[in-house]
C-alpha cells in the first residue's frame, strides 16, 4: 500500500513541478519571452514626427523645418573602402580617417556617417553613385531670419539616444509640444532580417508637433536687435539687452541681448551665451526702481506728487551716509522733482514714510523674489532677504534700487503694472498654439494682482513723464511724444563692495504715456562712453522708441 502512496506522491510532486514551471514561463517570464520572440520575427521602425514651427505674431516663421538627410553606409556592400571614405569625406567636409573607421567593421549591416546633411550635399553624394551609401530623410531646423531672437528661441540638439531635443528658450520649454509623438511601423521579417512583403504590417501614424505663434513682432524685434548692436558699439558697453512688452496682455513684443549666438550653429559658440540674460541674469535696478517705490507710497496715501521734501544735504542711516548721485542738493522739492533729480535722499524720505512692512510687502507684490512664470526654460529669480533680515540701511538703499537684485524681466513687468492701471500681468511668449490638425488654442493673458490703484498708476505715469521731460535725458527724447520713463545707473557689486567705475546703465519706460502701446527696458553693462543711464541707455531707448512709433503709426502730437 505504501508503494502506491509513494508513486501517487511522486506524481503529485511532478504535476506541481510542471505547474510551477509553466507559471514561471507563462506568467513571470511571459511578457519578456513574448517580446524576445517578437524581436525575432518582427521589425519595428520608428516614424519620426515633424517638429512644429515657431512663428511671430505677424505670421512669419522664426524656426521651421528644412529638408535634410541622414547619410549612412552599408559596409558589406562597399567595394573599395579607401575610395569610399575619400569621396564621401570630401563632400561632407569630414576627416577621411573618421569615415574609414565608421565603415571598417564589415560585420555591421548599417553605420550612420553624418546626421542632418543639407539637400545640396545629398545631391552631390548621389551623383557619386557609390555602392553601400544610403540616405534617409531627417529634417533639420531652419532659421529664415538667421540668428534673430536666438536666446529666446533656444536650439535643437540631440539627446544620448540621438533623438532631437529642444534646449533652452522656447525649444526647451515647449519641447514636448513641439516634438509631437513619433509613429511606428511594425512588419514581419524573415530569418535573414528582410521584411516579408505579404506579412502582417502595423502602422501607427506619427502626430506632428504643434506650431507656436508668439506675441513677438518681427519688425519690432528687428528694430531692437539692430539698434542694440549699434548702441553697444556707440556706448562701448560690454553687454546689453532690450525687452519690449505689451502692458495690456503681458505679451513679449521683442527681446534681444548682446552678445548672442546662432541657434543653427550653437556648437560654435560659448555655452555661456545659451542662457537668455533677460530672464536668467540679475542686476541691481538702481534709480529705475524709484518710480515703483513712489507708487507704493502714493497708493498708501502717504505722499502726493506735490508733497514737498527739503533736500538739504546727505542723510545718515545707521552708520552710513546717503548722498545724491551728483552730491547736489536742491532744497525744497516736490515728489515729482525727486524723480526728476533722481534724488536718493528724497527716496530715503519716502521709504521712511512707507515703513518697513509696507515696503517689504510692496516688493513682494510687484513680483520680486519669485519667477514671473514666463514660458521660457532658463528663467531664474534672485532671492530677496527674508522679512527679519531687512536692516534699516537695506531698506534705505533698496528705495533707490541698490542692494536688491532683479531680472530684467521682473523689472519691466513691475513697470508695466504702472502702464496697465496698476495690474501686474504674467509675461508670455506664446499667444496661440496650433496643433498639427490646424486646431488653435489661445493662451489667454493672465492678470496676477493689482499692485497699485488705477488713480495711483495715473499719478506715477505723470511723474515719470515729468522725469523724462525735465530729467537728465530730456535732450534725447523724441519731440511730440509723451513718454513716461526713468533712468537708472546702478553700481556693480564686486567682491563685497561697489565699483565706482563699473555700472549698469538702464532706462525703463512706456509710451505713449496716455495710452501705452509698449513698455521697454534697456540695460547696458559697463558702458565706456559714459557710465550714466541718461547718456547711454536713455538715448538708446528713445532711438528704438522713435522707430517703433513709425512702425506702429503713432503720430507726434505737436
Amino acid at each position: 500500500m505504501w508503494r502506491i502512496w509513494f508513486v501517487f506522491s511522486l506524481f503529485i510532486l511532478l504535476v506541481v513541478g510542471i505547474i510551477a514551471r509553466l507559471f514561471y514561463w507563462q506568467i513571470i517570464s511571459g511578457y519578456h519571452l513574448k517580446a524576445e520572440a517578437a524581436a525575432q520575427y518582427k521589425l519595428e521602425l520608428l516614424i519620426p514626427a515633424e517638429r512644429g514651427s515657431i512663428m511671430t505674431a505677424d505670421g512669419y516663421p522664426l524656426v521651421m523645418n528644412k529638408s535634410a538627410s541622414l547619410v549612412y553606409a552599408e559596409p558589406k556592400q562597399i567595394e573599395n573602402t579607401k575610395t569610399f571614405s575619400e569621396l564621401v569625406s570630401k563632400i561632407l567636409q569630414m576627416d577621411a580617417a573618421s569615415v574609414s573607421a565608421m565603415i571598417s567593421d564589415s560585420s555591421k549591416m548599417w553605420s550612420p556617417i553624418l546626421h542632418k546633411v543639407d539637400d545640396e550635399k545629398i545631391q552631390q553624394l548621389k551623383a557619386l553613385n557609390l555602392k553601400g551609401l544610403g540616405f534617409e530623410k531627417e529634417p533639420k531646423r531652419y532659421y529664415p531670419e538667421s540668428s534673430m531672437a536666438a536666446q529666446l528661441l533656444g536650439f535643437v540638439g540631440l539627446d544620448q539616444n540621438g533623438n532631437d531635443v529642444g534646449y533652452f528658450g522656447l525649444e526647451g520649454y515647449y519641447n514636448r509640444e513641439l516634438q509631437g509623438k513619433a509613429g511606428s511601423l511594425t512588419i514581419e521579417k524573415d530569418v535573414t532580417g528582410a521584411p516579408i512583403i505579404v506579412g502582417e504590417t502595423t502602422r501607427i501614424e506619427p502626430e506632428n508637433g504643434s506650431t507656436m505663434i508668439l506675441w513677438l513682432d518681427r519688425t519690432i524685434q528687428n528694430i531692437v536687435e539692430q539698434k542694440l548692436s549699434e548702441g553697444i558699439v556707440k556706448y562701448g558697453a560690454k553687454e546689453g539687452s532690450v525687452v519690449v512688452l505689451d502692458p495690456k496682455t503681458g505679451g513679449i513684443l521683442a527681446m534681444a541681448s548682446y552678445p548672442s549666438y546662432h541657434p543653427g550653429q550653437y556648437g560654435a559658440f560659448d555655452r555661456e551665451l545659451y542662457k537668455n540674460p533677460i530672464v536668467a541674469s540679475q542686476y541691481e535696478p538702481g534709480s529705475t526702481f524709484k518710480a515703483l517705490v513712489m507708487g507704493a507710497a502714493i497708493d498708501k496715501g502717504l505722499i502726493k506728487a506735490t508733497t514737498v521734501f527739503d533736500e538739504k544735504g546727505p542723510v545718515d542711516v545707521s552708520d552710513y551716509t546717503i548722498r545724491t548721485w551728483n552730491n547736489e542738493y536742491h532744497g525744497s522739492i516736490s515728489m515729482t522733482q525727486v524723480l526728476e533729480y533722481s534724488s536718493n535722499v528724497g527716496m530715503v524720505y519716502v521709504e521712511k514714510l512707507l515703513g518697513r512692512d509696507n515696503f517689504i510687502k510692496f516688493m513682494k507684490d510687484v513680483g520680486l523674489g519669485v519667477p514671473t512664470n514666463i514660458d521660457l526654460e532658463d528663467e531664474s529669480s534672485p532671492e530677496i532677504r527674508s522679512d527679519r533680515d531687512w536692516k534699516e540701511i537695506d531698506l534705505a538703499t533698496a528705495s533707490f534700487g541698490q542692494g536688491i537684485a532683479v531680472t530684467p524681466l521682473q523689472m519691466i513687468r513691475a513697470t508695466a503694472a504702472i502702464a496697465n492701471g496698476g495690474w501686474l500681468m504674467e509675461p508670455h511668449m506664446v499667444q496661440k498654439v496650433r496643433s498639427a490638425n490646424g486646431r488653435e488654442i489661445d493662451v489667454k493673458p493672465k492678470k496676477i494682482r493689482q499692485v497699485v490703484s488705477s488713480a495711483t498708476a495715473q499719478v506715477v505715469t505723470e511723474m515719470m513723464t515729468a522725469a523724462v521731460d525735465n530729467g537728465e535725458a530730456k535732450w534725447a527724447k523724441p519731440k511730440g511724444y509723451r513718454i513716461a520713463g526713468k533712468t537708472g545707473t546702478a553700481q556693480i557689486p564686486v567682491a563685497g563692495h561697489y565699483d565706482d567705475k563699473k555700472t549698469i546703465a538702464s532706462f525703463v519706460g512706456f509710451a505713449p504715456a496716455d495710452k501705452p502701446r509698449f513698455v521697454m527696458l534697456v540695460t547696458l553693462r559697463e558702458p565706456s562712453s559714459s557710465q550714466w543711464g541718461s547718456e547711454t541707455a536713455a538715448p538708446l531707448f528713445f532711438t528704438i522708441a522713435r522707430d517703433i512709433f513709425l512702425y506702429l503709426g503713432i503720430p507726434a502730437q505737436l
Binding site: Y60, P61, M64, N65, K66, S67, P139, Y142, P144, E145, S146, M148, R218, T219, N222, K479, G480, L550, P555, A556, L558
Partner: protein
C-alpha cells in the same frame, strides 16, 4: 440531396470566382494606393520646399537687400506737422 450538393458546389465556385476577381481588383487598388501615397509624399516634400523658399524670400534680410537695391533708403525723412499748419504752406514758393 443531389440538388443541394450541386447548389453548394455552385455557390462555392461563384464565391471562389468572386474572391479571385475581388483580389485582382485589390491588386490594382494597391498599385493605385501606392501611386497616390508616392504622390502625397512628393507633394508634401514640394510644399515643404516651397514653404522654405517662401520663408527665405520673405525674410527681413532678403527684403532689406531688395529694398536697398530698389533705391529705398534706410532712414526715412519724417516730418511732423503741427495740427494747425497747412500742408501746402510747407511747399517752397518758386
Amino acid at each position: 440531396m443531389k440538388k443541394a450538393l450541386v447548389s453548394l458546389i455552385s455557390i462555392t465556385v461563384v464565391l471562389l470566382v468572386a474572391q479571385i476577381v475581388y483580389s485582382c481588383t485589390l491588386v490594382g487598388d494597391g498599385k493605385e494606393i501606392r501611386r497616390i501615397d508616392t504622390e502625397i509624399t512628393q507633394m508634401k516634400n514640394a510644399t515643404s520646399l516651397l514653404s522654405e523658399q517662401v520663408a527665405s524670400a520673405s525674410s527681413l534680410m532678403t527684403i532689406k537687400e531688395k529694398a536697398i537695391s530698389m533705391g529705398f533708403t534706410e532712414k526715412p525723412q519724417v516730418m511732423t506737422i503741427h495740427k494747425d499748419q497747412f500742408v501746402a504752406s510747407l511747399v517752397p514758393v518758386q
